[in-house]
Each structure stands twice: as C-alpha cells, then as structure tokens.
C-alpha cells in the first residue's frame, strides 16, 4: 500500500498519525494516518458515516480528537481550534457550515479576519474598512470568475453553488499552505459543480495543497493526485489515482474489494 508517483518526491506539508475520535461508545475514527505532499490534491472517499468529516474536523481542531498527532512541515503542531489551523496556514470549508446565512458576503469572507481602517478611526476605535474589504472581494471574484454582483446581500439569498463558490474563494484568499474541502460539490448542479472544481484547481495553481472529500469518482479521477479510502472509521486504502479506476474505488468504499487486491 505504499503510494507511488510524483507527489511522493515532494516534501510533506501535513502528516497525521493515529488519529482517533470516539463519540461516547461510537468509534467514528479509528487510528487513521494521513500524509499530504506539497502541491498535491488528496481525495478522501468513503460511504456516508465512514468518518470523513470527522477526520478533517479532528485535523483542523473543530472537534477535539481522542488520540493522534499532527505534524506540519515535519514539526509536531498543536491544532486545538480552527484558529490554530488558520494560523498554521490551513483553510477549511466545512460541510454545510461554511457561511453564516444572516450576514453579508463581505462579512462572511472576512469573518474573523476583518480589516480595520488604516487611520485613527481604525487604530483607536477598531472601525472596519468596508471599502477595502469590498474591493479585495471584487478583485478576487473577478480573478476567479465568480459571478456574484451584490456582495452586501446576506449569504442566504444565494444559491448553493454561489455559496460554495464564496466559501472556496475564501480559501483562495486566505489559504497559505493547505485547503481542506468537505464535499465541495455536494448538492450542486452540473454547471455549479464544474465551477467549484475549477476553483479547486485554482487553489492548486495558487500553490496550495488540497484535501478534498467527495463522493464523485469522476472528480477523484480527473482532479486528484492521490486518494485515501475510509470505511467505518478505518483507513482501508491509500493509492495514486493513476493506479485505480472508478470500479476499484467503489469496491474499496463498499468493502466488496479488500484492500490488499489493489495494492
């Protein structure tokens, strides 16, 4: 089960060992290892309830992990809150929980990282610089070809695809090293999915390493470098995408194929 190919030669950005998460008696995640190389897109696949979301939440400090260590650039790093993850350069788009419905697109994109005015009002009274934030978002949206005209409008006024585009743009704007995406195309139409996946590709172009959870095997095969398969909280396979096909992956996900067969 040793992964092969180009990505192995590149240095490791993120390395997680023995990640476990128990919810009371439920073992949502059992001793899972993960490696992410510089500039690669790693897919995480698995059936519903396999523990994919739990894995990335534990990695990014959104939930406390029961066991395991995370190394960033080879150094063991304490990531206990989403803020710690951001400080390390990891941006995450959580499943369904990326945007606050009630506040505007501008406020959402800069939430937790607001820009203050560059004058006495900002320095002494902490006054926000809406002009600058709006400007940066417009620049970003036009660069990424995200078509959202009214950035003052509350997030809930937008379609699922547009919301996802905003969430992904946020990772482009702030992600320094790693972007983690939980089902970025779930509930999106065909055209919207393509838009989202183009954004994933631009994350890679911007020099980020990407971890992406998905149920779409076509996206795994077309956009990802490596894939790891979870089943019932356990890691069952990690392989280079060029060594597998859709059927093999589905077999691994459902348990029809056992892991040794594709190694």
């Amino acid at each position: 089960m040793t992964p092969q190919g180009d990505s192995v030669q590149r240095p490791l950005v993120l390395e997680a060992q023995g990640i476990s998460k128990h919810y009371g008696g439920i073992v949502a995640l059992d001793d899972v290892d993960l490696t992410l190389h510089e500039g690669e897109v790693l897919a995480v696949v698995g059936d519903n309830g396999a523990g994919k979301s739990t894995l990335i939440k534990a990695l990014t400090g959104a939930i406390p992990k029961t066991a395991g260590v995370v190394k960033f650039d080879g150094v063991e790093t304490q990531i206990d809150t989403p803020t710690d993850a951001k400080a390390a350069g990891i941006e995450t788009v959580y499943q369904d929980l990326a945007l606050v419905n009630e506040i505007s697109i501008t406020k959402n994109v800069f939430l937790g990282r607001e820009i203050l005015r560059d004058d006495w009002l900002g320095r002494w009274f902490g006054v926000l610089d809406f002009k600058k934030m709006d400007g940066e978002i417009r620049d970003l949206f036009s660069k990424l070809d995200v078509r959202i005209a009214d950035i003052y409008r509350e997030a809930q006024a937008f379609s699922g695809g547009q919301r996802q585009a905003v969430a992904l743009s946020k990772t482009v704007m702030f992600g320094k090293r790693v972007a983690i995406l939980d089902e970025p195309t779930a509930a999106l139409g065909v055209r919207e999915s393509k838009m989202a996946m183009d954004l994933v590709r631009s994350l890679k172009d911007h020099g980020l390493s990407v971890i992406m959870i998905t149920h779409n095997m076509q996206h795994v095969l077309n956009y990802c470098d490596r894939v790891m398969v979870l089943r019932l909280g356990k890691l069952v396979a990690v392989c280079d995408v060029k060594d597998v096909d859709g059927d093999a992956l589905v077999g691994l996900i459902t348990g029809a194929t056992d892991a040794g067969a594709t190694a």
């Binding site: 959104a62 989403p82 803020t83 951001k86 995450t92 959580y94 929980l97 990326a98 945007l99 606050v100 419905n101 009630e102 506040i103 406020k107 959402n108 800069f110 939430l111 937790g112 990282r113 607001e114 203050l116 009274f125 902490g126 006054v127 926000l128 078509r147 959202i148 005209a149 009214d150 003052y152 409008r153 509350e154 809930q156 006024a157 937008f158 379609s159 547009q162 055209r191």
Partner: protein
C-alpha cells in the same frame, strides 16, 4: 438550465430603497410615527411640550438601556430573562455599598458594575457550559436573583424590603450629578431667562435639565450601534447569533462573544439600578419587576429576531420610546390606563408579524 446571464440577474444589486425597506429598525420607526400620530390626535397637547417630552422619555430611557443590552444579546443568539431581577439585585448591592458600607460613588459604582458583570458571566457560563437554552437558565435566575434581593434586603435592614438613606449618603459626591438628576441645569436656566422655554411664575424653568438617564440612553444606543455596525466585534455578534458553528469554524471566539454579551446585559441592568436608586434615594427589592419582558419586547419591536443573528440597537432604542410614549401618553388622554397592557401585547404581535414579513423579503420570498 439557467444561462450565465440568468444566474447573474437573479441576484442583482438592490436599490437603496429596497435596502432601506429591509432595515431591522424600520418597524420601530414606523411604530414611533404611528404612536405619535395617535397621541397627537387623542392626547392633551401638553404631552408634546418639552416637559411632556421629558416625562415620557425618562421611563423610555430606563427601559431602553435594558432593551439595548437585551437587543445585543438577542442578536448574539441568547436571551436574558433575569435583567429585571438583576436591576433589583445590583440595586441592593449598590445601596449596601453606599449606605451600609459608606463607600464613595467612585468606588461603589465601579464595584456595582464589576459585580453585575460577574453575575452576568456566571449566568452565561452556565448557559455555555451546559448547552441548555438561555431561556431556561436565565428564567431560573429571574427567580433566584429576585429572591436573593428580598432576602438580602431584609438581612441588611432587619426586615424591610427597602433600604433608604441613599440620598444622604451620596450628598455632595462629585459623581452623583452624572448618574442622577438633570443635566445642563445652567443651560436650561439661561434658556428660561431668554424666554426660549416655559417657566413657572417665579421664573424657574419648568424643565430644569435633561434627565441623565436620557443622555445615558442616547450614548449607549450610539455606542451599541457603532459596535454592531462598524467593528469586528459587531460582525462576530451577528455571526455568533446567526450560526454559531459556521462562526466558530471561521475563527470567531463564539463563547467569548456570548459571555461578553451576558456581562454587558448585566451591566446595563446595573446602570439602570444605579440611576434609579440614586433618583429615588432608596433601593427596593421589587424594582425592575417584569422589566425583562418589556426589554425583550422593545428589542423585538426594534427588529430583533428571536432566532438571533438579526436586529439593531437603534431599533431597540425606538422600541423603548414607543413604550414610554404609550405608558405616559395614556395619562394625557381620557383612555383608561389599563389599556397599556393591551397596547403592549398588540404592539408585540404586530411587530413580530411585521418583522416576519420583512424577513421573508430578506431571504428572497422563500
């Protein structure tokens, strides 16, 4: 299959007018206009003289300070049903500081605010640590704090539920004019001399100044609006109330935000307690009775949603003014005072229906 053009068109830039139509405070401003018109028609014109204005603004201000605290907390997604009892409880603490321990206001007032913040933090900590709805936890504190106020006062006064002697105790204290009485008396005397405002026969002005609570009310409304609309902390309040999970995933310290809001709400109650204790010269365990409901109603009239993430301090400001106008306005009419309660309930119902309608607009008629 929608084309690109169709998708862009769907969310086009809103007009200024439609943006204004969605402001949370719109309902409250409309309400103030409605109530003003109502009393212009039915009430004695004395209501709309300077003296009449101060008459209804004074109770409006006392309620409004509580309502603005309640509004901030509601935008942050929580409730505090204990603010009324908190007024009595912190009033007791303040009264004891001043009368029983003879402390100067420069110590008693900060001590009371710190004490209130601690009680608020305790309240909030229980809500946040247990994950129970703040409705239930603070309902418990509504009774606990009221009971403690009664017991505490009896203990401090050997059996009475009132502690008197505040006025003597603070006589001549340099901080007293900031928290009691009327501000700018010299200006009002000057204006009376110049014949700009009404005077009594002996030449003293009918209105001797602006009651300080009105100034506090305005200052707090402006401060709260600035925080909500112009600062990162304001964004965090909306986000914490709108979707605590998404906010915390975005790096907002949701628990800290909510805890601070509980403390601010308690401090608003303490400020009202300090002002009323100084004004009346005594502290009373029954003070602030049912004020929590009135404060929440004013916040709701002001556009706050019970679900959090939406609302405004200016709305609560006008919501409280509506209260004051109705409460005092009825005394200027021939209408039976007890219609007040009917009026309140009616206003609340209309406000909620109205906000609901506006809300549907905001979410795109979904």
């Amino acid at each position: 299959m929608p084309t690109d053009v169709a998708i862009d068109e769907r969310i086009k830039e809103e007009s200024f007018f439609s943006r204004m139509m969605k402001r949370p405070e719109l309902g409250a401003i409309a309400g103030v206009i409605l109530v003003t018109v109502f009393f212009l028609v039915t009430a004695d014109p004395a209501m709309f003289t300077l003296a009449g204005f101060m008459n209804f603004m004074s109770p409006a201000a006392q309620l409004g300070i509580l309502a603005i605290g309640a509004a901030l907390l509601m935008v942050g997604g929580e409730f505090d049903l204990s603010v009324g009892s908190m007024v009595a409880f912190t009033g007791l603490f303040f009264g004891a500081c001043v009368v029983t321990f003879g402390l100067p206001l420069a110590i008693a007032i900060p001590a009371t605010l710190v004490f209130a913040a601690c009680v608020g933090a305790f309240n909030g900590q229980i809500v946040l640590a247990t994950g129970l709805p703040s409705f239930i936890v603070t309902l418990a504190f509504l009774f606990i704090l009221r009971g403690l106020s009664l017991v505490g006062l009896k203990w401090a006064t050997d059996g009475s539920t009132q502690l008197r002697g505040v006025r003597d105790a603070v006589e001549g204290d340099w901080l007293a004019p900031i928290f009691s009485g009327e501000a700018f008396p010299a200006l009002f005397t000057r204006m009376a001399e110049a014949g700009m405002i009404d005077t009594f026969r002996n030449g003293t002005p009918k209105v001797q100044g602006i009651p300080v609570e009105i100034l506090w009310f305005i200052v707090i409304a402006l401060l709260a609006t600035y925080v909500l609309q112009r600062t990162p902390f304001g964004n965090w309040i909306f986000a914490s109330g709108g979707d605590a999970n998404a906010a915390s995933n975005s790096g907002v310290p949701v628990r800290r935000v909510k805890l601070i809001l509980f403390m601010v709400t308690a401090c608003c109650a303490a400020l009202v307690a300090i002002i009323t204790v100084l004004d009346s010269g005594s502290t009373d365990a029954r003070r602030g009775f049912q004020k929590e409901f009135e404060a929440i109603i004013a916040a709701v009239i002001g556009g706050c949603l019970l679900t959090g993430g939406y609302g405004s301090a200016i709305g609560a400001f006008f919501g409280a003014i509506i209260f004051g106008m109705v409460l005092i306005g009825l005394t200027y009419t021939n209408i039976d005072q007890d219609w007040y309660l009917v009026f309140l309930g009616g206003m609340l119902l209309i406000a909620v229906l109205f906000n609901n309608m506006i809300r549907k607009r905001v979410t795109g008629e979904r």
